[in-house]
Amino acid sequence: MKRDALAAVALFALIAALPLSGDSYWMRLGTTMLMYGVLAISWNFIGGMAGYPSFASAAFFGLGAYTGAVAQKLGVPMALAWGLAGIFALAFAAALGLALLRLRGHYFAIASLVVAEVLRELVNAATDLTGGGMGLNLPIPRLASVQAQAVFFFYAMLALAALAFATTLVVVRSRLGFGLRCIQQNESAADMLGVNTTRYKVAAFMLSGVFVGVAGAIYASWLHYIEPPDVFDVLYSVKAIVMVLLGGAGSVFGPLVGAALFLSLEELVWRNYLQVHTGVLGLLIVLLVMFLPRGLMSLRFGVWGRA
């Protein structure tokens, strides 16, 4: 625990130094990377530790984004709106988890994927509240300079990522983490041994939702404009999964490593392969799944990376 925590503090301190470079493009990249990190870390709870292939990240992200945005439109101060988004996502994850977590495998995957679609269309339909298909413009804070705003959002995302990571550290060493690993190995056996599988699974699902919801809200404030297809984009769910697979599912540092590497690859591919970058991304995914399904962490660190 101590070694992991120290390494984590060093890592985050390093990242926190990025704004000193002053380059706002790198800060934008950094903020995006931290957001990806939150998505990956969150997915790790339900997908990596509990072994349930959730595609719900996009649903939580979009829900958080719209909760935060609508709250701000109605006059709620920004930080409070973010908190509200988190609470909303938490409650939604609890309800959804209770309904869906008795499904397994493919069925769970499909149901969680479809939730994002349903939410998107519901948001689309509520034009008066959310702007519907025309998108929602957030009030722009006129207080600080644009540069200062960029720094602010970077640190906001950093704080969220740090919080999510700290939660991972705690969960991994806790009873919840142990229970989740049992569930992943053999749920029926775990159940018979007295593990309250429903409670643990729902807890993991809630954790997979709350940080993502707040990330969505921060994202909406950062961009000042959101529309349903952007924030309820199924690619958020897929990327979260790919990042964790890349880094090593179930491990502590895996999601972060995966997120950083994925973002770098994405940037590189985007810059260099104008027409075919989606295809190249697909190729990377295929290669990853076929040749490195346990992620990078399994390569170098063997057992150490795993909790």
Partner: protein, 288 residues
């Protein structure tokens, strides 16, 4: 009278949907693989029909005959060569694998054909059939008839032919089938090939009716999901019932709740059915 027209619309649409989903359901039921490529195969079949018609004047009904063997071969090779390596892997990995493959295919089609929507227009147009106050477009009607015939044909293959029985056996119990001498790996490849064949063929049919573009793939896939859950995995009659149900639900849903909710309604139905009865309206308990 309005309701009758809406019902007719829904049934016609549903017949087409059934064809879309039959192959997908089979692959899922037998291999336990969700083939994300299915939507893109449908689109590719559509392009085949479109180019066959615009370049060589081949009618889409005939294009199906060309598409069928081509797509079967494509599916067979893809499964035997690539997907089979991952067949024992957890659900997440196979799903992600087909997702990645789909990204590649979709991008390839985008580069090759551009995202402009193509529309296959039949000259002369097939016109409209009027039954009293009911108005039925002939091209949709004939496409639906063909779609149902194709699906029926698939059912016959599964029920009567040797390889069909083998496929069903593998779906019911893989180990037992292997013990009975069935070459499971070959069956997997054949099934995937059949799935691809159905996708390509239905794509060629749909080309007569819907505009074609790589962007429509996910929409077809979404329908296939819902139909599979409604009808049960691996069941061709289930796909038919599921397809018809979905068509009618969407049709009436658009009437009662407004057209923007039609799709939401079908997905909500999916979630509700999953939660209440995961094996679907007709299916047996599938893989978990």
């Amino acid at each position: 009278m309005l309701s009758l027209q809406i019902l007719a619309n829904g049934l016609i649409l549903g017949g087409l949907y059934a064809c879309i989903a039959a192959g997908f359901s089979l692959v899922w039921g037998v291999l336990n693989v969700i083939n994300i490529l299915h939507g893109s195969f449908i689109v590719l079949g559509g392009y085949l029909a479109f180019f066959a018609y615009s370049i060589a004047g081949i009618h889409p009904f005939l294009a199906i005959l060309i598409a069928a063997p081509l797509f079967f071969a494509l599916g067979y090779v893809l499964q035997a060569g690539l997907i089979n390596r991952m067949i024992a892997a957890p659900v997440l990995l196979t799903l992600t694998l087909t997702f990645g493959l789909d990204l590649m295919l979709s991008n390839a089609m985008l580069v090759a054909f551009s995202a402009d929507f193509r529309k296959l227009i039949l000259e002369p147009p097939l016109g409209v059939l009027s039954l009293g106050a009911l108005v039925l477009p002939v091209d949709r009607l004939s496409a639906m008839a063909l779609a149902l015939a194709l699906t029926g044909l698939l059912y016959l293959v599964l029920a009567r032919s040797r390889i069909g029985r083998a496929i069903v056996a593998v779906r019911m119990d893989r180990e037992a089938a292997a013990l009975m001498g069935v070459n499971v790996r070959r069956i997997y490849a054949v099934t995937f090939g059949l799935g691809a064949l159905m996708a390509g063929a239905s794509g060629a049919l749909l080309a007569m009716i819907f505009p074609i573009s790589p962007l429509v793939g996910p929409v077809y896939l979404g329908k296939a999901f819902v139909i599979c859950v409604l009808g049960g995995l691996g069941s061709v009659p289930g796909a038919m019932i599921g397809g018809l149900t979905l068509g009618v639900v969407e049709s009436f849903g658009a009437l009662w709740f407004g057209p923007e909710h039609a799709v939401t309604l079908s997905f909500t139905l999916l979630i509700v059915v999953l939660v209440i009865r995961p094996s679907g309206l007709l299916g047996r308990k599938g893989y978990e």
